[in-house]
Amino acid sequence: MNLLRRKFIKTASFVGAAVAVGSSVLVPQRAIGAYMKAGFEAKDVDGAIQGSLGSTQHSASDAVMLKAPDIAENGAVVPITVSADMGGISAISIIAVANPQPLTSTYQLSSAAEPYVSTRVKMSKTSDVIAVVKADGKLYSATKEVKVTIGGCGG
């Protein structure tokens, strides 16, 4: 009986330690990513902008340039380039409206960085792409529709 109890205690304390280690590893990661995670997990555009840039109030601006193809033959690879003709930009978010998770990416720019990012995103279907930039705490955006023809016929 005593032996069994020993064994039980030993196993229990081991499991306890493992859980403690596991959670201590997970917690800091979650704390850092919590802010961004909300943006990436958002299912709508407002949530995506709020989660990545901290506000939903954005105004369309000609100073924000969004370069995207009119027709994307392959929705898995849609080249997007965002640049802006204004100073004080601290962050850029790229949002594909119809995606299950609209926020594709967000970029934190240091003061040395130029307001320019270019990448390739996935798009589930034809929809607007919104580029939102944060300049001096305010949000400015540019929108462009991208037609996605997954069949690859080039439409």
Binding site: P79, L103, T104, S105, Y107, Q108, A113, E114, Y116, V117
Partner: protein, 103 residues
């Protein structure tokens, strides 16, 4: 094996960095056509660019970025011969980094 390719060029005080990473970028929303099971999410969550120990740009990504991601950005204050360091971390905790000389 390095999974990051970097090309950086300085011109008129502005350095343009182009980088390609090899990564599956699985969203976790896709099904395996053979087994019918969901393919677990596996994507880069953060890309950091450093110049002389200063972070120039941080990209936060999720499954919405294409497979084998391409990223280009520009920054000021670097001279030819400087090193630019790119590193990424994914949702499984894997990471990689690479440095290249600015031309």
């Amino acid at each position: 094996m390095a999974t990051i390719k970097i090309r950086a060029k300085e011109s008129g005080g502005v350095t343009t960095v182009k980088t390609l990473m090899s990564h599956p970028m699985e969203t976790g929303l896709r099904k395996d056509s053979k087994t019918g099971k969901m393919i677990p999410a596996h994507y880069i969550t953060e890309v950091t660019a450093e110049h002389k120990g200063n972070v120039v740009m941080t990209a936060n990504w999720a499954g919405g970025i294409s497979k084998n991601p391409y990223l280009s950005f520009k920054f000021k204050g670097a001279a030819p011969g400087d090193q630019i360091k790119i590193s990424w971390v994914d949702n499984k905790g894997e990471s990689d980094s690479a440095s290249a000389e600015i031309k």
